[in-house]
Assembly symmetry: C2
Homo-oligomer: 285 residues x 2
Amino acid sequence: MNRGHLVVIGGHEDRKHDKTILSRFVELAGGIDKTIVVITAASKIATEMWEVYDKAFADLGVIRREHVHLESREDANNPELARKVEEASGIFMTGGDQKRLLAILGGTEVDTAMHTAFKERGACVGGTSAGASAMSGHMLAEGSNVLQPEKNAVNLGAGFGFIPRVVIDQHFSERHRLARLLAVVAQNPYLQGVGIDEDTALVIERGVGIEVLGQGAVTIVDGRTMISNVCDVADRDTPELIDVRLHLLPSGTRYALQENDEDNTALPAPLIDFLKNVTKRNPVS
Amino acid sequence: MNRGHLVVIGGHEDRKHDKTILSRFVELAGGIDKTIVVITAASKIATEMWEVYDKAFADLGVIRREHVHLESREDANNPELARKVEEASGIFMTGGDQKRLLAILGGTEVDTAMHTAFKERGACVGGTSAGASAMSGHMLAEGSNVLQPEKNAVNLGAGFGFIPRVVIDQHFSERHRLARLLAVVAQNPYLQGVGIDEDTALVIERGVGIEVLGQGAVTIVDGRTMISNVCDVADRDTPELIDVRLHLLPSGTRYALQENDEDNTALPAPLIDFLKNVTKRNPVS
């Protein structure tokens, strides 16, 4: 049985040459004879976005490709479009602006359909750039490109909640976003920060484990044991941060969780909570 | 008694307006009636560098300012220049190229004179940019500006050894150098990485404590408990890094070590080893 996969991509995944990540997405969706739908609502140039992915998935041999073109919440509550999404084996969210994506889809029929497809039918849900940020419960909505972690540099919003207790940033190394991810974690130590590089994907298999693939790495920032004075410093000041844990998972990294904790001795202990959390099988919301 | 201070500056310290850092350097050297010498050997434009600092220190009211102009190892073994350095209360090393600085000064009379002045007379030794990197024992000699921490991206050299067991990088946030500092620490977990932002100084008082001042922050990267496969990956590949500890000390941070460990309970425990190490009173080499 297919347990459902999430493919969380840091933007600029290759669409013309080796297509490593999109190819894995197709494979995890069940192969080229399954239906893949593309949600372009994050983008204001939805038609162009669709054309790019339509061609990429066609080049990979996928026969049934559909554009779920949503320009309003009315569209996102259209039962026919929701049914398309619910029946798809692969659901792909393009880049653009994650605030726009959530403003159009959040709490709609299409949103529910995505969760149902993922949780009940084991569909593969992928997102790149804004589409990736939107996949967590607490979503990095917007943030200044700060040099140092500044208090209140980043605004969070409500994302789709496929992955709880994390906040996802993309184009991570290329746009030098560690400082803003630290800014989020400093103020929200409940969340682990996940920074995904361009042309790089964090693949999560529900109940099983994770894998990193592509050209870059995934950076995890864990502030749970951190000591900080963030609540005492002024707006836009840099707080003191002591003992933030940083993990770097390069492409090729794979971890599989065992059912029993005593069998997880081969896994790096500082990662076990993260792995349990992101692979958790949550009830259908 | 003056115990000796080190002023480790991340480059681009203000020299024209508030001069916060240079002003503290003068104060720690004993004030405006003490002698300050400027070592420009890191730079190929030594005379211009001297003029900049001559003016800045004059503006701060320092009367006795001297240029220690070293263009060769012969110059650096000149007993008269060495005597000038040994008798100075403030010794300032400008930016340029730390490899050039060490190639000219390493192991010479002027080098010995700096250590004697610091350790026996409590002189204040400052360095900015290349001059800052040169102050540690293991010196970040050169490194590519990598996006991810890559194996062998950075070369180390032998620095002046004022601060053991650390490696110092400068222009840290501005030039996005965390990846290369992680690359050093991944391969040299014996060293703690210290990244200093522009117009920011890590001030170390021997046997006492540290302070951060200026516009930015000091980032410390501690890989001692890290798990990594760096010895197994290929040249220029990105290693897996699990559980690197990161500390961010903004401007205004101060820590003073107490003589007895049981009195250090107010200090953040993850920083105590670092504080002990950088403030250690080493014998004169």
